[in-house]
Each structure stands twice: as structure tokens, then as C-alpha cells.
């Protein structure tokens, strides 16, 4: 990116009204480190995989417990394909994130992909499709009421954490610059008014 000349850069550097400690881009955290931190932070507020599995087993249709356990295992495989072989703890956290993200939807859309990419970084589409398949299989073992209560739970959480500014109108319109291309010697505006 070419650094374009800016008035505010000069003001920052020479006017003495800005903090001298305004680091610009010296945060050396790598994308990989950031990804792991992000994942760890998000997982703190989530339930563990064990707790989620227990909840699913409690709510599933009778006789489907083994199927649920097998599908959760499949989900962990898919999670492993997404996050890599970085330890069971991370894989389990990733599986929970995948379940939470994919259970309320029928297919992996842009929104889900964006959300998952922000957490895990780039991943093969096949892995997330596999995860979607496992999530759907798990959901099919749950009665509709349990499924909707799970979805409601996710929505309720989202509403509790309402994003500031959601109701504020925002425009992406750019500045309109005035151009002055009048040729010297054209009739003056003042003269046009017959003073």
C-alpha cells in the first residue's frame, strides 16, 4: 500500500497535540497467534463439548444416544480438519463453535462461512460441509421442541449482546469534491448580476 501524503500525518508529527505513543502497526501478533487467541476467547463463553454432549443426550429421542455420540465424534473429525491437529482441547472447542454456528441453519451460507473464517482462518469447504452433515445428523436425533429451544437459546444470547449502533443509519456515500475548472476570463458571477 502506497502511503499517500496526508495533512493529519503532519499534524500528528509536528503539532504536539497527539500522543507520542501512537504506534501504528507495531502490534507484532501473527495471524496464527491471533486466530488461536480468538478461538480461546470465544470458547470461554461457550459450554464444553462434554457439557454439550450431555445436554444432547438428555434431550435426544430415546434410543438415539449411540447415534448422537457417533455424530459428535464425526463433528470432532470435521473440526480437526478445520483447525488442524493442534490438540484435543482446541478441537473440542472448535466442535462446539461449529455446532452453535451451524445448528440454527439449513446450509452453510456466506454469513456462517464469514463467522467461521474469522475464528478459524481459511479452511477447506469440504471440512465445513462435513461438519454441517454431522450437525444435521445430530439435530435429526432431537425432537423439534428441543431443537427450537436450542435455537432460541442462541438467539436469546445474541439479543442479550445487542451490538451498539445496529439501529443507527449509516451511509457509505463518499465525499463530493467541488472542482474549479472555470477558465480565467469568463464572465464574473458578480458582473452577471448587473450591479
Amino acid at each position: 500500500m502506497v502511503q499517500l501524503p496526508r495533512l493529519t500525518s503532519a499534524l500528528r508529527a509536528f503539532s504536539g497535540v497527539s500522543s507520542g505513543n501512537q504506534a501504528n502497526g507495531n502490534n507484532t501478533i501473527s495471524l496464527q497467534e491471533k486466530r488461536q487467541l480468538q478461538s480461546a476467547r470465544l470458547s470461554k463463553s461457550e459450554v464444553t463439548l462434554d457439557a454439550l454432549t450431555a445436554e444432547l443426550l438428555k434431550k435426544c429421542v430415546r434410543g438415539q444416544e449411540h447415534q448422537i455420540q457417533a455424530d459428535v465424534k464425526e463433528l470432532c473429525h470435521a473440526a480437526s480438519a478445520i483447525v488442524g491437529d493442534i490438540g484435543m482441547e482446541y478441537i473440542h472447542e472448535a466442535a462446539v463453535v461449529l455446532f452453535r454456528t451451524l445448528s440454527p441453519v439449513d446450509k452453510v451460507g456466506r454469513e456462517e462461512t464469514t463467522r467461521l473464517k474469522a475464528i478459524f482462518g481459511p479452511f477447506p469447504a469440504s471440512a465445513v460441509n462435513k461438519a454441517m452433515k454431522s450437525v444435521k445428523a445430530i439435530c435429526s436425533c432431537l425432537p423439534d421442541s428441543s431443537l427450537s429451544s436450542l435455537t432460541c437459546f442462541s438467539r436469546r444470547q445474541a439479543q442479550e449482546n445487542k451490538e451498539f449502533g445496529q439501529g443507527i443509519h449509516f451511509s457509505h456515500e463518499g465525499l463530493k469534491l467541488v472542482t474549479l475548472s472555470e477558465r480565467p476570463g469568463t464572465e464574473p458571477k458578480s458582473a452577471q448580476r448587473n450591479r
Partner: protein
């Protein structure tokens, strides 16, 4: 954070009870670094220019930027979803957030920068970040979010100022980035920051000399600096590269700097009209007019020559368009300051003759000071009728000396006649833009 006192107390006066290592209860302020979450905000990086990337690196570079942007989006959304107290703990004490916000203000593309041919998903992501950053700044500029969530106004102002959450360059960057379609909200934000912390007005006065230095530096780079000035110059500084010898890149830098300076000042003063008075007291209009009178004709001649010499090359013609914008914005800036400091107050104070006379005198004084700047006067009248401004003055006050206003209008006429005829006499029917 448990044990919060009941009742609507300002955030800056709220305490929570926590147990120390010995189990003894302690009162800790709600606004305290201990509540900061380790987020590690990535600093914002502007999107890469696909046209400047080789075939091999393009896909990887774009994907990496998108990944960074997605992580940033995630963090900004998280920040905006936090409660009032958590948002402010993070905002005040998280240095990675400070770097991130500062990097955005400095590096985010301006709407008038050369456009990038970004893939649709990157463009959309950039727009998402643009909005999210605005919401973060808006929340930072809001001292009362709801009946329950608010600050003591004075403490709010002190927090902003002491932690450099805003400063004058940041406020100017905000205006440049968001004034396009969000002027009303932006003006409220900026106004509230200045209202809650009057020290920002002092800072505004302090940046005045640096602004003048910027214009002086441009003149110097063009080899047009006033060497007879009072400040002694080093020998090494005396011989600036003559304009005619400059490469297209050097001229481009000068023009982009001129345009950015004009746009930045104008949109900031449009969002915060009270700032006009601060700069007006430093005679900014006359300083800009002198700059304009020297630099604009010199650049016009240069561009005209280069365009005629290098037919077929678009770069010089593109620079000509940038000069037109820089001219338009500089003229509009001067008129905005004159209008805000002299003309509008005449209308607003029509009941007080003494106040009106003071503002009229101020107007006449400024205009008289720039009468010798013929080129500026010509261009000013092209965009804003000087006659209309003077009519307004006469309507507001009968006792205005007609000789003085006629003198100003006469100078406008002369600017067209002498300057205009001279330009036509060059035999160039089109003239420079």
C-alpha cells in the same frame, strides 16, 4: 464484576467489591485495567492494490488481508456488544485497540483516493469494517448512552483527553472518512467531544501554525517559498527543486497533499463550524489566499505545458483533475470560514447593530486583505458570488460604507478583466483548469 451499587450512578463513580488474595473485600472502580479482556486487536491494514500485485502473490495477499479483516470484524463486533462498563474498560486501557483505531484513521482509504479494483468480497468486507469503526468512534464520543449508562460530563471529557482517545488529527480523519453521507451524526459526535472537553479548542489553535507550515512546505517544494521572509533559511533549504524539473510522481505528491489538506480542513470545519473562529483569528484565509495565488498558477502552467508536450500520456491530465479539486476545495474552505465567521453572524445578530457592524467590519477587513490576490478572487467569485455576499451585508446594515464594498466589487471585476484578458492573450483558448 459483581456487587454493583444500585441506582443510576455515573460509570466513573461506580465501584465493585472484590476479594483480595487474603479474602478481604475491596472496593475497586468499575473503570479499571483489571477488567480488560486480552483481545489483541490486530492493527488495521489498508486493502492491497490488486493492480500492483504480481499474478503469483495476488491471491495469497488478498486472502491474507481478508482474513485479517474478518478477525478485526469479529473483534469490533465483540467490542460493540459489550456492556457500557466493559466497553469503556477496553476502550480506555487496551493499547492494542488504540493502535488499531489509530491505524484505521490513518490508513483507511479516503473516498477521493485512487479507487482500487478489489474483488467483491473484499470490497464488502472493507465496507463492513468502515461501518464498525464508525460505530466504535460514535460510542466513544457518547457520554450518555442511556438513563443507566452514562458518565459525569467533565470526567468523560478528561478521559477522552488524557488517554488521547480523540485528538485533533483523529477528529479530522474521522470527518474525512465519514462526512460523505453521515455529516449530521458526525457533527453531533465532534461537537460533543469539543463540548465535553474544551481543551480540544486549545489544541485546535495549536495545530494552526503546523497547517501553515504544511502550506509553506508545499510552496518550498515548488520553489515558490518567500525567501524574503523573517525566518532565516539554511543554505541547503534555499534551492528547492524547481517545479519545471519535477517528475510526474513529485508533482502528484504535491497535488495530492494540497487536495487532502484542503478537503480535511473543509470537512472538519463543516462538521465543527465553531472551529472556523479559531483559525480565523490566525488569519487562515489570507494565508491560504497567498498560498493559492503563488502555487495554483505555477502548477497550472506546469500541467498545461506537460499535457501539451506529452500528448497521449494520461498521467498529467489526471493530475490536472486533482488540481481542479484542490482549487475548488481551497476556495470553498476560505468561503466557508468567511461565511461562518462573518456572514452568518450578521444574519443571526440582526437585532444588535453593534454586533452586526463588527461582523461587517470583519468581512470587509478579510476581503480587503485578499484584494491583491487576483487569481483567488476570480476563482472565489466563480464558485460563490461576492456580489451576493455584499448584498447581504447591505441588507443587514444600511450604514455600510458603499465606497468600500464597491472597491471590493471593483477588484473582482479587475480580477476578471486584467487576469482573464491576460490569460486569453496567451492564445490558449482553453486555458488551464
Amino acid at each position: 464484576m459483581s456487587g454493583k451499587k444500585s441506582g443510576p450512578e455515573p460509570l466513573d463513580q461506580q465501584y465493585v467489591t472484590v476479594k483480595d488474595e487474603f479474602g478481604t473485600p475491596q472496593m475497586v472502580p468499575v473503570l479499571h485495567p483489571r477488567w480488560v479482556v486480552e483481545v489483541n486487536f490486530l492493527p488495521y491494514v489498508a486493502p492491497p492494490d490488486p493492480a500492483a500485485l504480481g499474478e503469483e502473490e495476488r491471491a495469497g495477499t488478498l486472502e491474507e488481508w481478508l482474513e485479517r479483516a474478518l478477525l478485526l470484524e469479529q473483534d469490533l463486533r465483540w467490542l460493540l456488544q459489550q456492556t457500557h462498563s466493559k466497553f469503556w474498560c477496553q476502550t480506555i486501557f487496551d493499547e492494542s485497540l488504540h493502535s488499531c483505531l489509530n491505524a484505521y484513521l490513518q490508513n483507511a482509504p479516503r473516498s477521493y483516493d485512487p479507487p482500487l479494483d478489489l474483488p467483491a468480497d473484499l470490497k464488502q468486507q472493507e465496507e463492513t469494517l468502515h461501518r464498525l469503526f464508525f460505530m466504535v468512534f460514535m460510542r466513544m464520543a457518547t457520554h450518555k448512552e442511556s438513563k443507566e449508562n452514562f458518565f459525569t460530563p467533565k470526567t468523560f471529557g478528561d478521559i477522552l483527553y488524557e488517554n488521547f482517545l480523540f485528538d485533533v488529527p483523529k477528529l479530522m480523519d474521522l470527518c474525512v472518512l465519514y462526512a460523505g453521507g453521515n455529516m449530521a451524526v458526525l457533527a453531533k459526535m465532534v461537537d460533543n467531544v469539543f463540548k465535553q472537553q474544551p481543551n480540544y479548542n486549545n489544541d485546535l489553535a495549536e495545530v494552526g501554525p503546523t497547517i501553515f507550515e504544511v502550506f509553506d512546505n508545499i510552496m518550498q517544494k515548488c520553489g515558490l517559498a518567500d525567501e524574503g521572509g523573517s525566518v532565516p533559511q539554511k543554505l541547503s533549504e534555499r534551492k528547492a527543486a524547481p517545479l519545471q524539473a519535477m517528475s510526474v510522481g513529485e508533482v502528484q505528491d504535491i497535488l495530492l497533499y494540497m487536495r487532502d489538506s484542503a478537503v480535511t480542513l473543509l470537512v472538519f470545519l463543516e462538521a465543527y463550524p465553531s472551529g472556523c473562529r479559531v483559525f480565523h483569528q490566525q488569519n487562515i484565509v489570507t494565508r491560504i489566499c497567498s498560498f493559492y495565488e503563488l502555487v495554483v498558477p505555477a502548477l497550472e502552467i506546469l500541467l498545461m505545458d506537460r499535457i501539451s508536450q506529452e500528448t497521449g500520456k494520461t498521467s498529467w491530465s489526471e493530475l490536472d483533475a486533482v488540481l481542479s479539486q484542490a482549487r475548488g476545495m481551497l476556495v470553498k474552505l476560505c468561503h466557508h470560514i468567511i461565511s461562518t465567521c462573518c456572514l452568518q453572524p450578521i444574519l443571526e445578530n440582526s437585532e444588535s447593530l453593534e454586533a452586526v457592524l463588527n461582523y461587517v467590519e470583519d468581512y470587509l477587513h478579510v476581503m480587503s486583505a485578499v484584494l491583491s490576490e487576483r487569481r483567488f478572487l476570480h476563482d472565489l467569485d466563480c464558485l460563490f458570488s461576492v456580489q451576493e455576499d455584499i448584498d447581504l451585508i447591505h441588507q443587514a446594515c444600511d450604514s455600510v460604507d458603499v465606497t468600500r464594498t464597491d472597491f471590493i466589487l471593483g477588484a473582482v471585476d479587475q480580477a476578471y478583466q486584467s487576469f482573464g484578458k491576460d490569460r486569453r492573450a496567451r492564445g490558449d483558448g482553453n486555458g488551464p483548469n
